[in-house]
Subunit: 400 residues, 2 copies
């Protein structure tokens, strides 16, 4: 509910008939959501039925009109600028909006453009080079910025990230001395984990300058430079052969147009009995990511369906899918942890950037959590091998 502190700040000038009509149009997009829509002068539209779990407050006409024009994009833009306020629990409010949208509007898939190596570098820099101190505020100790695996829902985030890395290694059946290629290695936590715990050698690729520098420093500190090589380069430049090819949280940045390139890279890298694992945010049906997320948070990103990945990455090379697991609710929980940590560090983040950055990231983390809880997004782990490889595990015993 709207606090008295913020109602006190409401603008004195009255809303017009046109403003009220616009508000009604916007409310109609999510008619079933238990949310109150309010204008700057206090005019409000309560939920069609039941009590409201929150309020969306437009502080001026510009914000209101921008939603009429493109609600998907300008929801985020106006929240970021502070011209729209969301009162109530942010995740719950966004869940309500997404559920209501789903029942009224089904989007078609639009093909997402290619990300050539320059675009890829720009896109990755935009997000991952915000400074390691920023990410250290709210990620786990290992700096893992992908979905964790909670053996039980109450596990800590630190334990769940370790459990995720171990799950990935067990799915890949890593054996000491094997060669692993990792495409998109973040701050290097998985590469170092594989080397330390499973005795493999790793060549890990990433185009984020800050992440690679951090990862190399960790390798030196842990005396793993001989076992783990961090390479600042694009996945398309991957060379050499490996017994396991792993990519956790990179496919989202590849773009469907470049899936065939990724398939070729895997095909030329993987040994005859090699295994591959792709861990990525996906969908049950093809659709673009939210327009605001693409503009402000992840330029060039796309969450594919399993079908798209199979068709364009795996099938052309006759790879055999061995195992698929959907960890959707684990990502919702991971984001819940990140969101809590982020909000408890609001002041530090505001000091590093500014208030609009804080609001943008708060919305991004809360919105992402809501997309996983409402089923708009999935988290898939796909294990595959060559079609002719008979040295595959007999059963899943040992997993999870």
């Amino acid at each position: 509910m709207l606090s008295s502190a913020s109602t006190a700040e409401l603008a004195p000038h009255a809303s017009s008939r046109l403003d009220r009509w616009a508000l009604a149009r916007i409310q109609a997009l999510v008619r079933t959501a238990p949310v109150t829509f309010m204008l700057w002068d206090g005019h409000e539209i309560p939920p069609a039925q039941g009590p409201a779990i929150g309020t969306i407050l437009f502080r001026n006409r510009g914000a209101l009109i921008s939603w009429l024009w493109d609600a998907e994009l300008n929801f985020g833009e106006t929240y970021m600028s502070g011209t729209v306020e969301l009162h109530g629990d942010l995740v719950q409010l966004l869940e309500a909006i997404y559920r209501a949208l789903d029942s009224t509007k089904r989007r078609r898939w639009r093909r997402v453009g290619a990300n050539d190596t320059n675009a890829a570098r720009h896109n990755v820099h935009h997000h991952y080079d915000l400074g390691n101190p920023f990410y250290r505020l709210w990620l786990d100790r290992e700096m893992v910025y992908t979905c964790a695996y909670f053996p039980v829902p109450g596990a800590t985030l630190e334990d769940a990230q370790i459990a995720k890395m171990d799950l990935v290694c067990r799915k890949l059946h890593l054996r000491p001395g094997e060669r692993v290629i990792e495409a998109g290695c973040g701050w290097g936590s998985l590469a170092l984990f594989m080397a330390r715990r499973y005795g493999v050698t790793v060549r890990a690729f990433n185009i984020s300058t800050e992440q690679i520098a951090y990862a190399r420093e960790r390798a030196r500190a842990e005396h793993l430079e001989g076992q783990v090589e961090f390479i600042e380069d694009d996945y398309r430049s991957v060379s050499g052969t490996c017994d396991a090819f792993v990519s956790v949280g990179m496919l989202e940045h590849v773009g469907t147009a470049d899936y065939p390139s990724l398939g070729r890279v895997i095909d030329r890298s993987l040994s005859a009995a090699g295994r591959g694992l792709l861990h990525f945010i996906g969908r049950n049906h093809a659709a673009p990511l939210n327009a605001w997320i693409r503009k402000r948070i992840f330029p060039g990103a796309y969450a594919p369906t399993l079908r798209q990945v199979f068709e364009h990455v795996l099938e052309p090379h006759h790879f055999s899918v061995l195992d698929v697991e959907n960890l959707r609710l684990h990502y919702a929980k991971t984001l819940d942890h990140w969101g809590r940590r982020f909000r408890s560090s609001r002041a530090e983040v505001a000091a590093m950037f500014d208030e609009s950055f804080v609001r943008a990231w708060d919305l991004y983390l809360a919105g992402s959590e809501a997309t996983f809880t409402t089923g708009s997004l999935q988290l898939f782990q796909v294990v595959f091998t060559r079609g002719t490889n008979n040295h595959v595990p007999w059963t899943r015993s040992g997993l999870p």
Copy 2:
């Protein structure tokens, strides 16, 4: 190797230059296979390198020419008629042929025609109504005619079929009192197992008259008529709601053109928190089944890729894939068991049918085993639910 008994029967008339040219053309299709090709007069082409693991003997010119025309189809036709003999271990010989073919020839996918309800009934009758006594000769005690699950490779077929049924139930997380719909229930073993062990009620559909009669008799004998209803009808006629939708070994008979119908049937049947499981023979890349198998063994059958199933059955209804497992090597082992039992019952089968039937089924079972060991075919189990269902298992603990 060719036994002296059969060389003694070789035709006296000599092969011509044209015959020898034809043999060379045929051998060239599988140049790398360690197999000897031989004509009726003893003229032979040994393997390009290494010792032969077996011999393919053409007993007359008609057989030879038929292979030039369509080796894929007439391999089976001539073996069935006895005008081509295969000497050596049949499975190993076929594996060698398939491996050699794979490296020289990659087939494109041709769309398989629709199976309307009449065609479906005809196709199913062709295979499954050969008489229960025939199948009892070589199937397990429970009469399960789909891929078994061997917890360890040395498990018996009887135990492995029970283990498969239990695996299916655990993947579906069946709870006592829940309602299950089974599309394509064979001789009813899974439906009865689910009712007996998991306390659910089952409505099981099948269009094979003999199988349904057998299943109903079993339900009466086990006093499970109140819990399991066997319905002689097409999957498209499935009505009512269920908490679990399961189909084991039916999708192969549906045909891609009717996948949307199957998707609609599941969508209209499944409750809000319902789970579905599809168990089917599939492929890593789209291709038709072997022409002879389609002509003689499984008219109208098609083994899809995961992509095809996702695109046409699951995605249109926004179903969420929770779990995929590939049991390819389990099907090779299942077929090994069936083949051994079948061969030890050759005399009884010949008495029921004739020698060409015996040869056809021997080839079908051995050839199927070879397609699984060489990776031409896969066995997928896909678990899914509605995209909005959050009552999904937190982890796979309890599985395998």
